[in-house]
Homo-oligomer: 396 residues x 2
């Protein structure tokens, strides 16, 4: 007998599996090249060559007992120093190894942050549309998620709604920019307002409210857009970073958390993050890939490939009547569905071999998410299917 | 402000850190070669050469997007198949890829098992002396740990005490063999009795009681001892395995769980383990090292090195009056302390530059754990210090 909490989660997870199975079924009938799976955020751009070179060099040179051995739960000090130095130069900060915890990707990072700060029934605010896993991460530690409804004009966080959502139980606010699923970058003005509202709420309630900035898409930004760094706006900020997208290493589970010296109870928080890393069973971020990051700190995947995909898909969709905000980053489009019921829309899309995720999965019904981290050629082949889908709704 | 649960854990973790700092302090005064740190279970035997060869071969041959990409949360199917086939041959089983979930080490594995099965207040039985982290893993999911007192003659689980500890809330029993901290292997007779008691309790209470066999030390066994495989005794068994010790890869966080087809609610349990792997933030076991395991399935570290260490230390300690069961596996000795107060004993040991862990940390006061996964030469140098420690207690 599995636990009560897991029973519901298993039921939900079967929907995702069903989508996956449907893709395989359609591919068997129509051929893989004629099924257009926009449902998965799995990077298709190759990791930079420096990753392979780093692995070979490290494995050939390092003492294997040290390389594959235990280290401090927060990770190798030399790697944390390299990351701190890199961030200092890039964002004009004053960090050192003691401000960094290496994590098993951003997902591992968010879990140890929430384990560190949440008491049961504490509230965590998210802005719709938001990455659906936040719901599960908060629930892992018996927190309560509070969803701020979207501003569908700009897809910037809705500040008036945020003010209404803050209470004495608010422990954290999660932001994600460039955003999954909209591709929107939260602006300088957004972060200023957010910081000012949170500062005021801390004063009003006499509490600490943590801002958790989940940044796996930081390097995936287009048109020379800058992604404001949350540490410059608000002291009680955790940065959660991952190399899953910036180096195309999602399977390796490598990322880090940044905690600024200015955070309330800094020492306790850092100790707790280390303990949480240990007792949740991560123990430490995978050791070889920590060292790889140390060597590849300046590397990035070729973002132009995603940008080309964005342009192709965005231009086509808007030309055939879809309403859609133009993404400045990440690798998702979030168009309005052609009927109100986004789930029905995504069901209908399957008739045209298009696999899309309903906006409801991100707390934003009436929209759909398209992950365009697939090949340019596959997107090209998919365009007529979108045209047929649009025509279908014109005629019905 | 960190959470209430974490406040206590941070306070405890500072004791471990204090030990580590004390080691560094002593090393600065007396020289590293004259400080004898028996406190850490960090393997010192080198990984087999096949690990390095496998990494080089995989990185040179595999498509990097597949190699470092996402896969099913349970891990690569080919690797799970390789493990299943290996276990089938070794233990005469009938497993396939669907019985295996790749995990971030045994610690990750135990956490997803407990997340899968525990409702708040469910009871999990452990046998003293036991690995102290079980307490935290169970607490992560609001379970209640129930400690069965030790049988200090054999250090096999105390069956009469087990019977008394079983209730209608018992959800799981954790065993660990070869055992940390005693080095004892749980015998065929122990597993038979354990299975029969659990079967009876399931009948009495009308519940499912899971046996969780935590086996990171399975391959570290001496004198041709066999380590009975729990799946042969009891259907509702999870095996939690890790390559941290068998291949000396603790930093890489790689292991697996085995779930037999005969387990109650097999399909739900497997789905829940996958969901738990995802939502706790592991997502999947690190991908490159999954592939490494696929290639190194027949490899093991040289266990003779640990055996030689055991003999040297065991023979010396017993010759100078320590009472100690002779370990059949793992890399720990668990002698009785020369005074009742094990914490005071370990404090005194520091005067002789000996860093030992009190048995209290394993739920077994009056004993101390010595991790002999350090160099033979270092153990040789430590022997006079143990002699002086014994003499100190003869004279005081």
């Amino acid at each position: 007998m599995i636990s009560d909490k897991m029973k519901n989660l298993v039921a939900n997870s079967s929907t995702i599996r069903a989508m996956f199975e449907e893709g395989k079924r359609l591919a068997a009938i129509h051929g893989e090249e004629n099924v257009f799976d926009f449902s998965l955020g799995n990077p298709n751009v190759v990791p930079p060559d420096s990753v392979k070179e780093a692995i070979l060099e490290i494995v050939n040179e390092e003492n294997p007992n040290v390389l594959h051995g235990y280290m401090n739960n927060s990770g190798y000090e030399d790697v944390r120093n390299t990351i701190a130095t890199f961030l200092n130069e890039k964002h004009q900060l004053d960090l050192n190894a003691n401000n960094i915890v290496m994590t098993c990707g951003a997902a591992g990072g968010l879990n140890i942050i929430l384990k560190t700060i949440l008491n049961p029934e504490d509230e965590v605010i998210v802005f719709a549309p938001f990455f659906g896993e936040y719901r599960n991460y908060v629930s892992n530690f018996d927190g309560k998620i509070v969803v701020v409804p979207p501003d569908t004009t700009t897809f910037q966080p809705n500040m008036e709604a945020l003010k209404a959502a803050l209470t004495s139980r608010t422990k954290a606010v999660i932001i994600n920019s460039p955003n999954n699923p909209t591709g929107v970058i939260y602006s300088d003005s957004t972060l200023k307002q957010l910081a000012s509202i949170l500062e005021e709420a801390q004063g009003t309630f006499g509490t600490s409210i943590y801002l958790i900035s989940d940044e796996p898409y930081r390097e995936i930004a287009y048109d020379n857009a800058t992604v404001p760094y949350a540490l410059h706006y608000y002291n009680n900020t955790f940065i959660g970073y991952s190399y899953s997208k910036s180096l195309s290493l999602p399977g390796e589970r490598i990322g880090y958390i940044v905690v600024p010296n200015e955070m309330a109870d800094f020492d306790d928080v850092m100790s707790a993050l280390n303990v949480a890393n240990r007792i949740l069973g991560f123990v430490n971020a995978p050791s070889l890939f920590q060292k790889v990051i140390g060597k590849c700190i300046e590397s990035e995947v070729d973002v132009c490939i995603y940008e080309r995909n964005r342009d192709l898909l965005y231009n086509h969709l808007t030309s055939i009547g879809f309403e859609c905000i133009k993404p400045e980053g990440a690798f998702y489009l979030f168009p309005k569905t052609l009927i109100e019921d986004d789930k029905a829309f995504c069901e209908t899309a399957k008739q045209f071999n298009l696999l899309l995720v309903p906006g409801s999965a991100f707390g934003c019904p009436g929209y759909t998410r398209l992950a365009y981290c697939i090949s340019y050629e596959q997107i090209e082949r998919s365009l007529p299917a979108f045209t047929k889908l649009a025509e279908y709704y014109k005629n019905n």
